[in-house]
C-alpha cells in the first residue's frame, strides 16, 4: 500500500514506523493475509463495466411491462428526484442530534402527516423496511395488543408478504391461519372468516385493494366480526387518493408500501413499509416516530420520540429490532405527495382506474381471454383468465418485447389459468394497443 504524506505524518506522531504496527493486536492465528479481490478501477472504467453488465437488463423503458403485484411503475416527477438527491438528506444518519437535523426530522414528520391523512390513522411511524416486514411486525403487534397465539391472514395477499409474515410469526411462535376469498367477488369470504375466529386469535389481516386488485367492500362487516380483535389492513396508498381510508373503517393497524410515492421499482428494493395505528396502540408500535415539540427558545421543532419502545433503549424488550429504516424514501414520499398535491394525486389515481378498466374490458373482448376474473371493483390491477396456458402466453409475449402480467397458476392453483395484470399512468393507449395486438395474435 502506498500511503499519503499526511498518513505518514500521522504515523510518525503516533510513534509508529509502519501501518502494520496499528494491527499488532490482531493475532497471527486469525490473520487472513489480504483479499483475493481484483485491483480497483477508475470511475470511468467502473461506469463502462457496469453499463456492459447491466445492458442485459430489460427495463420498463426498454420493454413494455404489465407487472404489479405490490411493486408499481409510477411516474416520478423530476422535482422529487432533485429533492431526494440532496446531499444533506442522503448522507445524514438517523437524526440522533435533532438540533442539527431539523430538515430530516421535519420532512419525516410531514411524511407521517401525509400518510396519516391518507390512511385516516393519527399515528404513523417514520418507516419500516417494506410492506412485507411491516406485515410481519403487524402480526407481532397484534399479539401485543390482543394477546393470543394465532393470527388470521386473508389468502388474497401476495405470497411474498405471506412468506415474510411466516418467518416473523415463527420467531414469536404465532400460528398463521388462512381466510379464504369469495370465488365470485374476490373479497374476503366472511363465512370462512367467522368460522376461524376462535379463541386465541389476536387479529386478522386483509388488503384493499387485495392481491387480485379487488377493493374490499366489506370492511365494516369485518370490523364487526372481529370485535375486540386487531384489524390490520393492507393498502396500496396510491388508491387512498380516492378510496375511503381504513381509519374510517375501523382499522387498528394499517400497513402498505409507499414505494408508489416517488420511489423507483429497483428490482423490489429499497421500498418503504408504511405503518400506522390508532393512538391507543402507539406504545406497542415498532419503528421510529417523529414528534412535534419546541426548542428552548420556544420555536417549533421536531425530534424522535417514544424511543423507550426501541431496541437501543429497551434492548431485548423492545417492540422491534428495527434500527436503520427507509427514511430517505419517506422523504421521497413526502416530496412526491407535495409535488403532485391533492389534485394531482387524485388525477393519477383516477387515471390508474380508468386504464385498468379500459385494458381489462379490451382484453375481455378477445376471445380466449376473460377479464377481470372477479366482479368486485378494482384499482389498477386485475386477473386475466385465459384458455391457453398462461406460461406459454408469457413466453410468446416476451419474444415480442412485452412483459405480460404475473402468472398466478402456481401460486393460486385454484384460480386456473390466471395472470395478474397491472397498468398505471405510465401506460399510454399505444402501450395497451401493443399488448392487445400481441394477445390477439395468441388467442
Amino acid at each position: 500500500m502506498e500511503h499519503s504524506k499526511c498518513s505518514l505524518e500521522m504515523l510518525q506522531e503516533l510513534g509508529l514506523k509502519s501501518v502494520d504496527e496499528l494491527f499488532a493486536d490482531i493475532p497471527k492465528s486469525v490473520r487472513s493475509g489480504g483479499l483475493r479481490l481484483p485491483e480497483g478501477m477508475s470511475e470511468i472504467d467502473l461506469k463502462r463495466s457496469l453499463e456492459t453488465m447491466l445492458s442485459s437488463n430489460r427495463h420498463a423503458e426498454s420493454m413494455l411491462n404489465f407487472l404489479g403485484a405490490g411493486i408499481y411503475h409510477h411516474y416520478i416527477p423530476s422535482a422529487v428526484k432533485m429533492i431526494t438527491g440532496r446531499s444533506e438528506f442522503i448522507t445524514s444518519y438517523t437524526p440522533y442530534q435533532p438540533e442539527i437535523s431539523q430538515g430530516m426530522l421535519q420532512a419525516l414528520f410531514e411524511y407521517q402527516s401525509y400518510i396519516a391523512e391518507l390512511t385516516g390513522m393519527d399515528v404513523v411511524n417514520s418507516s419500516m423496511y417494506d410492506a412485507s416486514t411491516a406485515l410481519g411486525e403487524a402480526v407481532l403487534m397484534s399479539t401485543r395488543i390482543s394477546g393470543g397465539d394465532t393470527f388470521l391472514l386473508s389468502r388474497a395477499i401476495s405470497p411474498e408478504r405471506r412468506r415474510v409474515a411466516e418467518l416473523y410469526a415463527k420467531g414469536a411462535d404465532i400460528r398463521l391461519v388462512d381466510v379464504d376469498f369469495d370465488r365470485a367477488s374476490g373479497s374476503v369470504d366472511l363465512n370462512d372468516l367467522t368460522s376461524k375466529l376462535k379463541d386465541g386469535v389476536s387479529g386478522f389481516y386483509f388488503e384493499t385493494p387485495n392481491f387480485f386488485g379487488v377493493i374490499e367492500s366489506q370492511a365494516r362487516e369485518i370490523r364487526g366480526l372481529l370485535d375486540k380483535r386487531t384489524m390490520v389492513v393492507g393498502v396500496n396508498p396510491m388508491s387512498l387518493a380516492i378510496l375511503r381510508p381504513p381509519g374510517d373503517l375501523g382499522a387498528d393497524i394499517v400497513i402498505g408500501d409507499a414505494q408508489v410515492f416517488g420511489a423507483p421499482m429497483s428490482f423490489g428494493g429499497p421500498t418503504i413499509g408504511l405503518f400506522g395505528c390508532r393512538p391507543e396502540h402507539v406504545r406497542k408500535m415498532p419503528g421510529r416516530i417523529i414528534g412535534m415539540t419546541t426548542d428552548i427558545e420556544g420555536r417549533a421543532a421536531y425530534c424522535m420520540t417514544l424511543q423507550t419502545r426501541e431496541q437501543h433503549i429497551r434492548r431485548s424488550k423492545a417492540t422491534s429490532n428495527i434500527c436503520t429504516n427507509e427514511a430517505l424514501l419517506a422523504v421521497a414520499a413526502a416530496a412526491y405527495l407535495s409535488v403532485v398535491g391533492r389534485t394531482g394525486l387524485r388525477e393519477i389515481a383516477a387515471t390508474n382506474v380508468r386504464n385498468m378498466q379500459s385494458l381489462s374490458s379490451r382484453i375481455d373482448s378477445i376471445s380466449g381471454f376473460g377479464a377481470p376474473l372477479f366482479k368486485g371493483a378494482h384499482f389498477n390491477e386485475f386477473i386475466v383468465r385465459s384458455d391457453r396456458d398462461p406460461f406459454q402466453i408469457h413466453k410468446t409475449l416476451l419474444t415480442q418485447g412485452i412483459h405480460g402480467g404475473l402468472v398466478l397458476a402456481n401460486m393460486f392453483p385454484e384460480l386456473g389459468n390466471s395472470t395478474l395484470y397491472a397498468t398505471t399512468e405510465m401506460h399510454t393507449k399505444e402501450d395497451h394497443d401493443r399488448l392487445l395486438g400481441a394477445l390477439e395474435g395468441i388467442r
Partner: protein, 486 residues
C-alpha cells in the same frame, strides 16, 4: 473556526396557503367504476405549486447535517464519504426500472451483479455463502439468528438462549428476542469479553453467542479463537455483528476468527449512504454447513446464466420481499469494484490510523478506559467534564456549534459518560486536527455555553420531554389536539 447552520422558518406544508383551484370538477366515481360507498369524501392534503414545494425541501435540506457537510464521527456507524458515482449508477433505468417479478431472462445483469457481490462479500467475510436479502444490519441479525434456530432444530435440538456481552448493540438482544430466544448479557472485563464469565454461562441451552470484533470499545478481542472454540465445543454457534468490519478488511475476517455467521452493513463498511436513517442493506454470510438455511431465492449461476432457486427445503424462508435492497446493493458493488482488494485494505488501514491518531490527541483531555491500540473507533469517558459541571451531552451539543456532528454518546453503557468516536478513513488529517483543536477549545469554554449549547444550529436544544408528553405525530394529530384544547 466559524459555523452557523442555515436557519429558515419553514412552516409545515399543511400550513401553507392552499392554492386550491376554485373549480374542482373531479369525478370521484371515475365514471361509475367504483361504488360511492368505497370512496372517500375529502382529502386534506395541500395543493401547492412546484415552486413552493422545492423551496420547502431545499431549505429543509440545508437544515440537515450530512457527511457531505463535514466530519460525522458517529461511533459504530461508520459515516464515511459515499462516492457520487454510486448514486448516479442507481438512477439508471437498468437499475431503477426493473421489476422484481420480471422473468429472470430479462434481468441477467442484475442477477449477475448480485451474484458477484455475494462472492466479494464471501471473500471479505471469510464465509462460504451469502444472502443479500436482509434490509439492514438488524435484519441481518434477525436472519442470522433464525439460521441459528433452524440449524439447531435441524439437529433436533431445542436451545433457547442467546448470549451476548453487555457492550452489544441494542439490535443484538432485540433480534435474538424476536426469534424467540431468551437473552443473556454477560459483563465485560477490561473492556473485553470475560471469558470465564462466558464459560460459566454456556450451557446446553446456549444457541449462540453474538459478538463484534473489534468490539464496541474499538478493542480487538484477541482471544476470539478461544471464545469460538468454547462455543463450538458446547454445540453453539458464533455470530458476528458486522458493524465493525471497517477495521479489519484484508487483515482478518469473521471466518478466519471462526465465526459461523456474519452480517455486513453495506451502509457502513461499503459506503452506501445512510439517507437520514435508511435504506441500508444487511447481507448475511455463513459457513458452508449453514448454507442450506439461507433465505430463498438463492442466486445460482450455471453456464453463465443466472437462476433464482426457490427449491431449498431447509431454508428459513424469506425475511423480506424479493431479493434485498437492490439499489443499495448496486451502490456497494460499485464502491467495491472501484476500491478493489487493495483499496478496501487501505480503507481499513486508514480508518484505524485516523482513529488512533484522534485517540492519542484526545485521551489526555478526557479519560480513555483501557489503554492501548484501538481499531477504527474508540470510546472516551466524559467523566472529567463533571468537574466543570457539565456532561457528555453538553460537550456533544457544543461540538455541533463548530460544524461537526457529535460522536455517539452514552454507548456502550459500560463506559461512564461514554463518547464514542469513529472518524473513518475518508477524513483528512487537517479535519482531524481541526476537530482536536475544537475539542480542546470547548473544554476551556464557560460551562454555561456548553449547557445551553447548541447555539449555531437551526434549532436550539430540544424539549424532548414535551414531544413525548404531547404525542403529536402528524398534522392530523396536531389539529385534533389543538381543537380539543379549545
Amino acid at each position: 473556526m466559524r459555523y452557523h447552520q442555515a436557519d429558515y422558518d419553514v412552516p409545515l406544508l399543511f400550513e401553507a396557503c392552499d392554492e386550491q383551484k376554485i373549480d374542482d370538477r373531479f369525478d370521484p366515481t371515475i365514471g361509475g367504476a367504483i361504488p360511492k360507498g368505497l370512496l372517500r369524501s375529502d382529502l386534506n392534503i395541500p395543493d401547492l405549486p412546484e415552486r413552493d414545494v422545492v423551496k420547502h425541501f431545499i431549505n429543509l435540506s440545508q437544515m440537515n447535517f450530512g457527511v457531505d457537510n463535514g466530519l460525522y464521527p458517529l461511533g459504530s456507524c461508520t459515516m464515511k464519504y459515499n462516492p457520487k458515482i454510486c448514486d448516479e449508477v442507481v438512477s439508471w433505468p437498468s437499475v431503477a426500472s426493473i421489476h422484481p417479478h420480471q422473468d429472470p431472462s430479462t434481468v441477467q445483469g442484475a442477477l449477475r451483479l448480485m451474484h458477484e457481490l455475494e462472492g466479494m462479500l464471501c471473500e471479505i467475510g471469510g464465509v462460504d455463502a451469502v444472502t443479500l436479502q436482509p434490509a439492514a444490519g438488524a435484519q441481518g441479525e434477525y436472519t442470522g439468528i433464525h439460521i441459528v434456530r433452524a440449524y439447531h432444530e435441524a439437529r433436533g435440538e431445542k436451545r433457547n438462549e442467546v448470549i451476548l456481552p453487555d457492550t452489544a448493540h441494542g439490535t443484538n438482544p432485540a433480534s435474538a428476542a424476536m426469534v424467540g430466544y431468551d437473552v443473556l448479557e454477560i459483563p465485560s472485563k477490561n473492556g473485553c469479553v470475560d471469558i470465564e464469565a462466558l464459560k460459566a454461562s454456556i450451557s446446553s441451552d446456549t444457541a449462540a453467542f453474538m459478538l463484534t470484533n473489534p468490539n464496541t470499545l474499538g478493542i480487538f478481542e484477541k482471544d476470539v479463537k478461544e471464545i469460538a472454540g468454547t462455543l463450538h465445543d458446547a454445540g453453539a454457534l458464533l455470530y458476528y455483528d458486522g458493524a465493525n468490519l471497517n477495521a479489519i478488511m484484508g487483515k482478518t475476517s469473521p471466518g478466519h476468527m471462526n465465526f459461523d455467521i456474519v452480517h455486513f452493513n453495506l451502509h457502513k463498511t461499503f459506503a452506501t449512504p445512510h439517507g437520514g436513517g435508511g435504506p441500508g442493506a444487511g447481507p448475511v454470510g455463513v459457513k458452508r454447513y449453514l448454507e442450506e438455511f439461507l433465505p430463498v431465492p438463492r442466486i445460482i449461476e450455471k453456464d453463465g446464466k443466472y437462476h433464482l432457486d426457490y427449491d431449498q427445503p431447509k431454508s428459513i424462508g424469506k425475511v423480506k420481499a424479493y431479493f434485498g435492497n437492490f439499489g443499495v446493493l448496486v451502490r456497494a458493488y460499485a464502491y467495491m469494484m472501484m476500491q478493489g482488494g487493495p483499496g478496501l485494505e487501505a480503507a481499513s488501514e486508514n480508518a484505524v490510523l485516523n482513529s488512533n491518531y484522534l485517540k492519542d490527541k484526545l485521551k489526555d483531555d478526557f479519560e480513555l478506559p483501557y489503554g492501548g491500540l484501538r481499531k477504527h473507533e474508540f470510546v472516551l469517558s466524559g467523566k472529567p467534564l463533571k468537574s466543570k459541571g457539565v456532561r457528555t451531552l453538553d460537550f456533544a451539543k457544543r461540538l455541533l456549534d463548530y460544524g461537526f456532528h457529535a460522536p455517539t454518546i452514552y454507548f456502550p453503557i459500560i463506559v461512564d459518560e461514554a463518547i464514542m468516536i469513529e472518524p473513518t478513513e475518508t477524513e483528512s488529517k487537517e479535519t482531524l486536527d481541526r476537530f482536536v483543536d475544537v475539542c480542546k477549545q470547548i473544554l476551556k469554554e464557560d460551562p454555561e455555553i456548553l449547557k445551553t449549547a447548541p447555539h449555531n444550529t437551526s434549532r436550539r436544544r430540544m424539549d424532548e420531554a414535551k414531544a413525548a408528553r404531547d404525542m403529536i405525530f402528524s398534522w392530523r394529530g396536531y389539529k385534533k389536539k389543538t381543537e380539543n384544547a379549545k
